[in-house]
Amino acid sequence: MIRKPWWKILTFIILMYVCTMGFLVDIPKLDGRLQHSVRNLFFHVPMWISMMILFSTSVVYAVLYLRKPNSTYDIYSLEFARTGLIFSFMGLATGSIWANYQWGSPWSGDPKQNGAAIAVLIYCAYFVLRGSLNDDEKKARIGAVYNIFAFFMLFPTIWILPRLVESLHPGGLGSEGNPGLNPNDTTSAMKMVMVPAFIGWSLLGVWIATLRVRVALLKEKQLNNE
């Protein structure tokens, strides 16, 4: 499956559609505050969606590893987490750029920003933990256990926490609405680009992760042959 070309071509087509329609689609006039920056919906938000998909895949393989200690599962879990972390950095960076022009400063200590930063730091600790262990089997087992912990911290920090408090981020209406998006600002024409954007950028993340998985599998094979 990971070596089949059809879904890579699909990724390309979807992202070309997103990168052109993302600029061409009509946007609603929203009292002059968002203006064209609302188009970031097709570029900033998919980074987080992609991160969530990559981390979810990573935790599935971590559970599989704990059920049956096969080093292939560990490689999948590690490389998907690694790619997910890169997407989370891109999410934080693009969010800061947008926030600079929308909220006045790149980092306003908003609950949404802090929650995301905590989640990212928890995932950084996953790599520190793995790096501090020398035994490969221990690395994989403890890594898998920590991965499950990190995953169950991710959702409170980026989904639940911002719902409970006031936030500058869309959806920060106390307990109302959805923690990431403001559905009142999104027209159906924009959704026609937004949903493909989520799928396309996520597929791109999966592609990069599978490339890393294949390299890691090759390396492992080489070590076993020696």
Binding site: M16, C19, W207, L211, K221, N225
Partner: protein, 71 residues
């Protein structure tokens, strides 16, 4: 090497003429690329970056496939 330098110099000089001409030309304000605050220039840049990214990924994918066939 000499030939390379010559070609490079020619290209640079050619750029100068293009730049010099660019000032004389009056851009049509109704041009699609210049409409809407020139936002479509950004679109062209983004599309170029994403296409280049994909070309790079395809070449990596091919290289890894080749290594996989070898081992």
């Amino acid at each position: 090497m000499n030939k390379l330098k010559q070609t490079g110099l020619t290209l640079v000089l050619a750029m100068f003429t293009v730049l010099a001409n660019a000032e004389d030309r009056v851009p049509d304000p109704k041009d699609f690329m210049r409409s809407n605050g020139k936002i479509y220039v950004v679109m062209a840049v983004v599309v170029t970056i994403v296409v280049a990214l994909f070309l790079y990924l395809v070449s990596l994918d091919k290289k890894i496939s080749k290594l996989e066939r070898k081992s």
